[in-house]
Symmetry: D3
C-alpha cells in the first residue's frame, strides 16, 4: 500500500535564521521519502535560548507557528528543552514531538547510561529539569556543560566539535556514559564526526525527533484531548493577536 | 532598631482586575506595619490561567512587571503554579516568591500530610508538576480538583466555599490530608471560613507568600547570581519592547 | 535520495504460532514501503508468557533467533515485558527494540498520564517492573489487569475487546488515564476499535515498536558496545548448542 | 491596624550556655519590632549535639521547655536536625519551627541548588536524613562536613570562619552549590562575613527560623491536631516529672 | 563444630510488663537451642508507644538497657518503629536489630508486595517514616491502621485478632498485599492464627528480629565504627546518670 | 525443644565446579549444627556469570535444581544478581533466598552506608539493577567494579584479595562506605582477611544467605502463593524436559 505524504513542521525555538537552515538540512537528510518537512522560526523571541528568560519569551512565538499552521500532520519543537510543549499539545490534536524527549528515548534503546553534552554552564539546571520531566533521570550518567553559546555552535563548527569531543570523553571516562545526547539543536550535523571519534552512539536530537514525528503520523495517532491537553478554555487574552484567542482553535 | 519600610510588588498572574483587588485585600490585611504592598496585573495575557497555554502566554506580561519596576524590594508571583518564576529570578536580584511554594512550605510546618484543593479538573497535571518542582510530593496526600473555573472563585463566593468544603472533606476523610492548601489565588480570603468548617489548617497562598517575601527582605537576602539565575545573556529578542532586551538589565 | 530496504525481524516471545501470525499482520500493515519484516517465534519456550517462569524459559529461544540471524538490520522483542532485552543488546550491535518500552515512549508523547491494560492479575508485578525499568513510573496512572489469559486474547477477540473496554474505562474514569497502552502482543489489532470506543489514544505495542526499529535503522544507529552491552565474555556454556557459545559472536 | 506582640521562645537544643547567648543575639538582631524573643536551653541533655545519641538525650529536655511554657506564641528548635520536632508538634498547638527546615525553604527560594556546610564528618548521615525529611534532597548539591566540633564554632570564630569558607568554596566550585546553608546553630552570626567572601547567599538557620515563626504567628496558624500531631494519648510515663504526663496537656 | 551460646537481650520499647512477657514468650519459642534470650523493659518511659512523644521519651530508657549491659552479644529493639536505633548502634559495637526492619526484610523475601497492619490511626505517619528509613517503600502495598491501642493488643486477644483479620483482608483484597507484617510488638503470638485465616504469610516482627540477631552474631559481625556509628563524642550530659556520659563507653 | 534438622540447597549460579566447592566450604563453616547443606551447580549454563547473556542462559539450569529437588526446606541462589529469583519463588513454596538481597539486608543493619565491590567493570549496570530491586539504592555509597573476572576470584586468591582491598579502600575513603558487600559468590571466604585489613564490616553474601534461609525455615515461613508467586499457569513449554512443564508442579 502506498503511504500518503506526511507533512512535518519543525519549529526552531530560536529566531536565529542560520540555525533554522542547519536544522532543516539535518532533517531533510534523514526524512523518509514521502515525508515533506518545512523548518521555520518564530516571528518573535530571542536569537538563542540560553536561560529560562529566553525560553519563556520564545514560547508565544513557537506556539504561533502551530496556531497559524493549516497543513502539517505533526510538529517538532527544535530546541533542547522542549519549550512550551504542554501548551503545544493543548492547541492542536496533531502529534507534537520535542527534540529533547525524542533523543532521550532513542538513547535509552541504545545504551544503559548516557550523558547530555550541551552549551553554557548556566543551563545545567534547565537540562536537568528537562530530563526529569521525561522521567529518565536514573538513566542519565551526567550533564556536561561547556563554554559554548548556542550561536557558537553554528559559527565555529571546528571549535565546537573540539569542545564537544573533550566534554564527551570526560562523560565516557569519568561518568560512565555509554552514549552521548547532543543537548542543543545547533549541534545537529556533528553527530557522525563525533561518533567516529568517540566510539559510542551520538544522538542528534533533531534527527531523532523527525523519526518520532513520522512514526506518530504513520501510526495515525493524535494527542489525547481527554483532560490535560484538551483545548484551552475560551477567554480574553490581552495584548495578543486575535489568532491567539482560544476561541480561534474551536471548530 | 526601627526597621525600614519593605516594598513588595504582588503580580497577579491573570489579567482579571477583580482578582487583583481580591489578592490585594488579602495581602494588605496580613502585611506587617512597615510593609508597603502594591498589587498589579500584567498588561498582556489571559484573564485567568487554567491551562499550560494560558500560563505560557501570561509569563511575558508577568516578567514585564518586574522589568519595569524600580522601587520594590521583593516580588510575589500570585498564581498557584508560580509561572515563570525561574526567569523572574534571572532578571532581578530581589527575592521572588511564588505563592505555590510559599503555601507548601507553610503547610509542611503545620501538618504531616496536606492536600491541594483547586480549580478545574484539567489542571491536575499542572498542579502535580508544581508540587514536584518544590520537592514536596511525598508530603502531598492528594490533589483534589473541582468544577470551579478561576473566575468562578471570584464571582460566586458562596458556591465556591461550598465546593471547596466538599472537596476538602473528601481529602481529609479519604486521602489522609491533615491540612488544606488552597490552589488558586482567587480563593484568597476564604481560608478562615474554611478552617472553621473543616477543623484543620487551611493555607491561603497569597498570605503565605507575603510573609515569605517580608522574611527574605528583612533577612537582607538576594537571589543567587552565581550560575542558574545569573542575568540572561545579552542578545536580540525579536518582537518585544526594548525593555525586554537583556542589555536593559545590565548595570 | 532513495532509502535502502530495512530488514526487521520480529520475535514473538511466545511459541504460539497464531500469535505470531497476528503480530505479523499488525506489523505488515504499519511498516514503511521499503521495510521488510519477518516475524518468527522461538523454537523453545512456553506457548505464552504469563509468569516470571514462562519469561525466563522463553529467553534462550528468543536470543537464539538473534544469534542465528544473518540478515536483519534490527530486532523487535514482541512480548510486553521485553524479555531478555539486555542480553539481546549484548549479542548483536543491531538495534533491539522492546514492544513495552516502545509503547510507553509513544504514550508519553500523546498524553500526560496513561494506563497499561493487560492480561491476568498475577502479572501486575511483572508489568510494574517493566515500567520501572523504562523510568516512566511517575507517568503511569495505573496498571489494570484482567481475567484474560494471553491465549484468550487470540482466541476470542469479541470477548477480549469487551473486557479491555471495561478495564480501560475504569482506568480513564477512576485512575486518571488519558491514553491506554495495550500490555500484550496478543492484543495487537484491537487498538482502532478500542480507540473508537474510548475516545483516547490506544497504543498497540507491536506497531509502536515497528516504528521505533525503522527509526533506529534509518538513523544508522548501533547499540553501544562501550561497557554494559559489549559482547559476552568467551567461556564454556554447558548444555547449549554451539551457536550459543559466545566465541561464535566474535568476528 | 496595629499588630499584637508576638512572643517566640527559641530552644537551643544544646545545654551549652554561650551558644544560647549567640543564638539569642542573632535572633534579637533580626526580629520584627513587635516580636519578643526569649532564648533558653534545656535543663538536661548534652552540651552539644554531634551524634544520634546526643540528639536523643537532648529531646526530653527540649520538649520540657515547651511543656512548661505558658506564654509563647510559637517555638523554634535551634539545633540543625530539628530534634524531636514531631513530638513538639504533638504537645502544643502553637507553631513549631525547626531551624533546619526553615533554612532549606529559604535557600530554595534563592538558589537552584544549595549545599549544607556543617560540623564533624560523622554527622553526614544525620544531615542527609534531615534534608530527606523535608523532601528537598533533589535540590541539595552536597553536604560538606568539616573537622569543626559544635563547641569549636563558638570558641574560635576566626578559625571557624576560615574552615567554613574553604568548605563552602569546594561546594560551589566542585558540587554546583549556588547558595550555602550553615548547618549548625553555633555558626549563627557568621553569615554576613561568609556571604561577602563567597559571593552567594549564605543562610543563617536561626534567622530563617525567626522569620518563619513570626510568619506563622501573624498568619494566625496552629498545628493541625487532626491526626498525626494530635495530643499524645494519656498513659503512665515512668521516671519523668509529672508535667511530662500527657494528661497535663489536656484541657 | 559446636556453636557457642549466643546471648541476646530484647528491649521492649514500652514500660508495660505484660508486653515484655508476651514478647519474651514469642522469642523463647523461636530461638535456636544455643541462644539465651532475656527480655527487659526500660526503667523509664511510657507504658506504650503510640506517638512521637511516647517514642522520644522512651529512647533514653531503651539506650540505658544497652549501656548497663555487660554480657549480651546482640540487642533487639522490640518496638515497631525501631526507636533510637541509630543511637543504639553508636553506643555499642554489638549488632542491634530493630523489629520493624527485620520484619520487612523477611516479608521482602516471601512476597512481591506486603502491607503493615498496625495500631491507632494516628501512627500512620510514624509507620510510613519507618518503612521509608529501611528504603522499602516501593514494596509496601499499604499501611492499614486500626482502632487498637497498643495495650488493647495485649489485653483482649480475641478482639485484637478479629480486628487484625478484617484490616488484613482489606489490605489483601483492595491494596494488593501478598503478605502481612504485624506492626506492633504487642501483636506477637497471633501470627499463626492470622496466617491460617488469611492464607498469606504473616510476619511476627519479634520472631523475625530474633532470627536476624542470631544470624549477625553467628556471622561474627559488629556494627561499623568507621563514621556514622562511632562512639559518641565525650562531653557533659546534664541531668543524666553517670553511666550515660559518653566517656563511660570508652575503653 | 529440640529443633528439627533444616535442609538447605545452595545453587551456585555458575557451572564452575571449583566455585561450588568454595561456596560449600563457606556455607558449611557458618551453618547451625542442625542444618544440612548441599551445594550444587546447574547441569546447563555458563561457567561464570558476567553479563546479562550469561545470567539468562544460567536461569533454566538454576530452576531445574529446584524443580528436581524433593527434600530441601529452602533454596539459596548463590550468584550475586539473584538470577531468576522471582521464577524460583513461583515454582516452589519453600523459601528462596538470593545472596545479593541477603547481603544487603545484613549490611543495612551494620552500617549507615555501604558499597558493593565486585568483578568486571561491565557488570556495573547489572549490580545497580539488583540493588534497585531490593529498594536499597539510597543506602548504597557506591558500586566499585574491578578487572577481576569471576573465575579470577577462584584461581588467584592473593591477587584477588589485593584488588579487593584497593577497591574497598577507595569506596571507604572517597565514596563514604562504612561497610563492604562482596558482590560475587566467588569472593566467599575472603571476608575475614578483608575485614582485618579494612577495619569495617565486610559481608560475605553466601554466609549471609545461609543465615537468612535458616531463619525463614525456623520461622516456618512459605513464599506467598497469593498472586505474583503462585504456581505458573499450565501450558506447553517447547524444547524443555517434561519436568519443566508446569503441570509437574501441581499436586
Amino acid at each position: 500500500m502506498a503511504q500518503p505524504t506526511c507533512h512535518i513542521k519543525i519549529i526552531n525555538g530560536n529566531t536565529c535564521q542560520p540555525m533554522t537552515a542547519n536544522i532543516n538540512a539535518s532533517a531533510q537528510a534523514i526524512k523518509f521519502l514521502n515525508t515533506e518537512i518545512i523548518t521555520v522560526q518564530p516571528q518573535t523571541g530571542p536569537e538563542s535560548i540560553e536561560s529560562f528568560y529566553d525560553e519563556y519569551l520564545a514560547i508565544p512565538g513557537i506556539l504561533e507557528q502551530i496556531i497559524l499552521d493549516t497543513s502539517s500532520d505533526a510538529f517538532i519543537l527544535a530546541c533542547w528543552g522542549d519549550p512550551g510543549i504542554e501548551a503545544a499539545r493543548e492547541i492542536t490534536s496533531k502529534p507534537v514531538v520535542g527534540i529533547a524527549e525524542a533523543s532521550l528515548y532513542m538513547a535509552n534503546m541504545l545504551a544503559a547510561k548516557w550523558s547530555v553534552v550541551t552549551t553554557l554552564h548556566r543551563v545545567r539546571d534547565m537540562v536537568e529539569k528537562t530530563i526529569q520531566k521525561t522521567g529518565l533521570t536514573a538513566r542519565c550518567a551526567s550533564v556536561r556543560t561547556t563554554k559554548l553559546s548556542v550561536l557558537d555552535t553554528e559559527q565555529d563548527r571546528t571549535a565546537t566539535l573540539d569542545i564537544l569531543i573533550k566534554a564527551s570523553q570526560l562523560a565516557i571516562q569519568q561518568d560512565g556514559a555509554e552514549a552521548i545526547c547532543l543537548g542543543c539543536a545547533g549541534m545537529s550535523g556533528l553527530e557522525k564526526q563525533l561518533e567516529a571519534r568517540l566510539g559510542v552512539p551520538v544522538i542528534d536530537a533533531v534527527a531523532a525527533a523527525v523519526k518520532m514525528a513520522e512514526s506518530l503520523v504513520h501510526l495515525g495517532k493524535s494527542t489525547s484531548k481527554h483532560l490535560t491537553y484538551r483545548l484551552p478554555e475560551q477567554k480574553e487574552i490581552k495584548g495578543y493577536n486575535p489568532h491567539f484567542q482560544a476561541q480561534s482553535f474551536y471548530p
